[in-house]
């Protein structure tokens, strides 16, 4: 096709080098500054744990931690992630050893279809980092930006309670 070379020119013009730390490892990718962080993670970095649900910051399935803060990666332009430290669901386990939250979600039936689970676990992780001994009300509020259409939420809350208890006794 005659316009394919034009597309390639357009593809590269305006891109920038984006340096950031992802799950402890320094990365540099060449992206458009307005590319969504979610797309950078999934397409450039091959980290498909963060999911696209609504694409407008309502469902939380694209949640990641940016400098320790919970954010919706679908609402972050790539340029604003420059120099930040990101944690995605892929960064929680230590090799085959699941984090306390991941294990608790499995044990309590907090994951069913799995679309919301990475975001749910990162939101829970953010909550427990801020409040190691959350009340049920804290948990409900901490996860209120993450929608789940399978579990009815109770197993998820139970998983967070269990993970908090284990962290406290560890």
């Amino acid at each position: 096709m005659s316009h394919s070379s034009n597309d390639r020119v357009k593809d590269n013009r305006g891109k920038c080098d984006l340096a950031l730390t992802v799950n402890g490892k320094p990365k540099t990718v060449r992206v458009f500054p307005m590319e969504r962080l979610l797309d950078v993670l999934r397409q450039e970095l091959g980290l498909t744990g963060a999911k696209e649900g609504c694409g407008e910051g309502e469902c939380g399935s694209c949640s990641v931690l940016m400098n320790g803060e919970l954010v919706n990666s679908c609402l972050i332009p790539a340029l604003q992630a420059a120099g930040t430290n990101l944690t995605t669901i892929e960064g929680l386990a230590d090799g085959p050893q699941l984090s306390a939250l991941q294990a608790a979600f499995l044990e309590c039936g907090g994951a069913q279809c799995g679309i919301c689970t990475p975001g749910m676990i990162l939101a829970a992780c953010h909550l427990l980092n801020k409040k190691p001994e959350p009340t049920l009300e804290d948990i409900r509020e901490g996860l209120s930006g993450n929608l789940c259409r399978c579990t009815g939420y109770m197993q998820i809350f139970e998983a967070v309670v269990q993970a908090a208890r284990r962290r406290a006794s560890a």
């Binding site: 357009k10 593809d11 013009r13 305006g14 992206v31 458009f32 500054p33 307005m34 590319e35 969504r36 694409g55 407008e56 910051g57 309502e58 939380g60 949640s63 803060e69 919970l70 954010v71 919706n72 679908c74 609402l75 972050i76 332009p77 340029l79 604003q80 420059a82 939101a123 953010h126 909550l127 509020e141 901490g142 209120s144 930006g145 993450n146």
Partner: protein
């Protein structure tokens, strides 16, 4: 249709001076983007008219909350999380703290900013009625310098405001003079987090003259989601001042509230429901004020 990132420019100059110069050079051409919780939603939907964006996220000059004995000065780039966690805001401006807690989920609270909420100018924004009753003042900055304006009449119509194309909101100032008031806020929506309000209210009130035979010394009431702009009910306030809170006054203010607003039918609610709820909320506030013991 989704936007193509190749069609958009985004730069991050990193300091306020550079951003302000850019806006001065090409007024109206650059759209400032802070936490992106509104702009990126429009972008994702292919509905963002601006093609050139300038990042003001994390600009040091827009950050932080400064306090003096007279007022607090909230950097326009402060997030809802920062508002919620600030001791003086929680203690002296609880309507703003509640609104911050009600706005979106935690991830949006970590990114959404108070300045962004003002310029996005949604009539449904929960924090704006709180700013109206606290009589906030805005510090606006441009290449021409700074000016301080009252927030009261900042919004002039749906998504229209008294902000020049080369101006940014730098800070929001709140006078520390409401400690003797009852602070009342309520959001009526499908759920607390993530759902936009059907109606929200922020109100302040104070009595004088002792518990028996007391009258309203001062009152301020503002509503969200009931008009093209966040609405201060100045006529209702004027009528209520100096009067005892009796059933006749409550009934009158309920009627006046319904008359003052211009609610619409939309995806979240109906005009009729909104009008009824708005009247009920004003009535509930006055009844709470009567029993509050908040006197001069």
């Amino acid at each position: 249709m989704r936007s193509d990132p190749a069609d958009y420019e985004l730069i991050a100059p990193g300091n306020l001076q550079a951003v302000v110069s850019l806006l001065a050079d090409e007024p109206g051409k650059w759209l400032p983007i802070a936490g992106g919780t509104d702009v990126m939603v429009q972008y994702a939907a292919g509905k963002l008219p601006a093609r050139k964006l300038v990042s003001i996220w994390n600009l040091p000059e827009l950050r932080g909350i400064e306090t003096s004995p007279e007022e607090i000065r909230i950097g326009a780039g402060c997030t809802y999380t920062e508002l919620r966690e600030h001791e003086i805001i929680a203690g002296e401006f609880p309507l703003l703290a509640s609104a911050a807690r009600w706005t979106g989920g935690i991830a949006n609270q970590n990114r959404g900013t108070l300045g962004g909420n003002i310029v996005n100018a949604s009539p449904a924004a929960d924090s704006l009625p709180a700013l109206l009753v606290y009589e906030a003042e805005l510090i606006l900055v441009s290449g021409r310098g700074e000016r301080r304006v009252p927030y009261l009449d900042f919004h002039t119509g749906y998504k229209k405001m008294k902000l020049a194309p080369d101006e940014l909101i730098r800070a929001i100032c709140l006078g520390r003079r409401f400690s003797s008031y009852l602070h009342y806020a309520r959001k009526v929506g499908a759920r607390e987090a993530q759902a936009l309000s059907k109606v929200c209210v922020a109100a302040l009130g104070r009595l004088r003259g002792g518990v028996t035979g007391s009258v309203i010394d001062d009152v301020r009431i503002a509503l969200g989601s009931v008009a093209p702009v966040p609405l201060r009910l100045t006529e209702v306030e004027r009528i209520a001042k100096g009067k005892p809170i009796e059933p006749e006054l409550v009934q009158l203010t309920r009627k006046m509230t319904t008359a003052a607003i211009q609610p619409i039918d939309d995806i979240r609610s109906t005009a009729r429901y909104r009008a009824a709820v708005a009247g009920n909320l004003v009535a509930e506030f006055l009844q709470q004020l009567r029993g509050s013991g908040k006197t001069v």
